[in-house]
């Protein structure tokens, strides 16, 4: 384990320790429709992060008192497998995963047309199989695709990634090492028009650095959106006249 005392350099010849440019995402791998039982699903790798998302619903709400008469409720459960992190994690939710679940749900809820399905629930489950900084954003990306795969009417997809600060420089999509010893982390999520639905930040940034971080993360989200879009097009390309996932997901608002 590297102590805080030893000065760790995060750059070598202008590249990051894993060879990326400062504004470069880690490699992304997506598969849609990977689970038989779920109504929609998506497996996603972002660097060493491996997450899988499933969507069930719209379905009946249990317990009943959670029902909303004018709209579907959305539930989101982010969960880490015990073996997904260096030191084995006790099974079950901890305080961090409750917070991640809450902000992830709030990141997706604005694009789900919940008023189409009063008294029902849309359940989103995200399992982290391997974690390496960025699991919440990977989870949101996978969940967004899984929602589309489940045919849940949405205004648009949601794409998510983080920017960080290491060695005084703003970088895109920090990996574990950069996150642990870096100076700030800013995960965001947004729709294709750049409207933000998730924003968290910890560390220490000036206003100018925050601005740079948001710009960088926004550019990252746009790249991710293209990947999400492509995988959904491929998934539905066997259907007639369907060239864009934007037709799969509902576009008008009620």
């Amino acid at each position: 384990m590297i102590g805080m005392d030893e000065k760790l350099s995060f750059f070598k010849d202008g590249l990051r320790l894993d060879g990326r440019l400062p504004d470069e995402l880690r490699p992304i791998k997506v598969e849609v429709g990977v689970l038989a039982r779920a109504d929609g699903s998506c497996y996603m790798e972002m660097g060493e992060n491996k997450v899988i998302a499933a969507v069930y619903g719209p379905r009946e709400v249990h317990p009943r008192h959670l029902q909303e008469v004018t709209r579907a409720i959305v539930r989101y459960r982010y969960n880490m497998a015990s073996f997904s992190v260096e030191e084995r994690k006790r099974p079950g939710p901890d305080r961090r995963s409750y917070e991640v679940s809450k902000v992830s749900r709030e990141a997706l809820e604005p694009v789900i047309l919940t008023s189409y399905f009063p008294r029902s629930v849309v359940d989103v489950f995200v399992e982290v199989l391997q974690a390496d900084a960025g699991t919440r954003t990977a989870g949101i990306n996978a969940a967004s695709v899984a929602l589309a795969d489940a045919g849940i009417p949405m205004r648009s997809l949601i794409s998510s990634c983080a920017a960080g600060k290491v060695d005084g420089e703003i970088v895109l999509d920090p990996m574990k090492l950069e996150d642990n010893f870096g100076e700030a982390d800013v995960p965001i999520a947004m729709n294709p028009s750049g409207e933000i639905t998730l924003l968290q930040m910890d560390g220490r940034l000036s206003k100018e650095e925050l601005q740079r971080a948001l710009e960088l993360a926004k550019a990252g989200c746009q790249q991710i959106y293209e990947i999400q879009r492509k995988v959904l097009i491929d998934r539905y390309s066997h259907m007639d006249d369907m060239g864009s996932c934007d037709e799969v997901v509902a576009e008008e608002e009620i």
Binding site: V69, E106, I196, T197, L199, R204
Partner: protein, 259 residues
């Protein structure tokens, strides 16, 4: 159904007020309710603060006790922050372990204290790898009339700034004031239509599309942010909120937290 109807009516009312540039209690959009702060009321705690933000009332107690460090930070003290949304404070709070709202509140308060570097954790090491000071920050909500984030964060830093490390009690030398190196202040705004309203009360919170908390340090840096509620926010609005948040935080810091 009637709850839904009432919420719609209230939203309408507040919205129309806002179009006229007004809030139900007459405040400007970027104006805080009256703040009062009393420290040291709880003698059994090592630090305490009672914060009132309008009618919102929060008691924060700090206890400092020796304990074991985390294995990956053997020479650092530990901060543990908890928030209790006890059912005394609101008809919507229920008994039981903290739900996601209480957990988020505790984690955002914690983030401000931790990320600002307010507490020098290395100074809280007693014997490396064996014994360090554990700082418990317990946020006890007494009356929820809106904007618990700012009230709780203010209570936490005020309680820490007036806290004593009870070394004598554990035969670890003389008591000394907990060293506090920075003064994080949380400032929260909600968005409603296109307007941004600071220090929202319960009604304003309940009709807001989105909420953004910005925590700033004494030198004007940002050390924590948290968007909550399912709504959109644009980059421009973020920057606008950050700008005003820095100003408000500075005023609060000067008025209540200057030594």
């Amino acid at each position: 159904m009637s709850d839904v109807v009432m919420a719609e009516i209230r939203k309408d009312y507040l919205y129309h007020l806002m179009l006229k540039g007004e809030r139900a209690d007459g405040r400007a959009f970027d104006e805080y309710r009256e703040i009062s702060l009393e420290t040291g009321l709880i003698r059994k705690a090592d630090g305490s603060a009672l914060v009132r933000l309008g009618k919102t009332t929060v008691m924060v107690g700090v206890k400092i006790q020796p304990g074991e460090p985390f294995s990956d930070t053997p020479n650092k003290g530990v901060i543990i922050t908890n928030a209790e949304l006890v059912p005394l404070a609101s008809p919507s709070f229920e008994p039981g372990p903290p739900n996601e709202v209480g957990i988020e509140l505790a984690r955002v308060v914690d983030r401000g204290v931790r990320e600002s570097g307010a507490i020098d954790l290395e100074s809280l090491c007693i014997t490396p790898g064996e014994k360090v000071w554990i700082v418990f920050i317990d946020v006890h909500i007494l009356d929820d009339c809106g904007n618990l984030m700012d009230a709780s964060s203010l209570g936490a830093i005020a309680a820490l700034m007036t806290a004593t490390v009870p070394a004598a009690q554990y035969a670890l030398g003389e008591d000394y004031p907990l060293p506090v190196k920075d003064v994080p202040v949380a400032t929260t705004a909600v968005e409603f239509g296109d307007s941004v309203i600071f220090d929202p009360d319960t009604d304003e919170e309940s009709v807001a599309d989105t909420k953004l908390t910005v925590i700033t340090t004494a030198d004007g840096s940002i050390c924590g942010m948290q968007k909550s509620r399912p709504g959109f926010i644009s980059q421009d609005q973020i920057y606008r909120i950050v700008d005003i948040a820095c100003e408000r935080a500075k005023e609060i810091r000067e008025k209540f937290l200057e030594v």
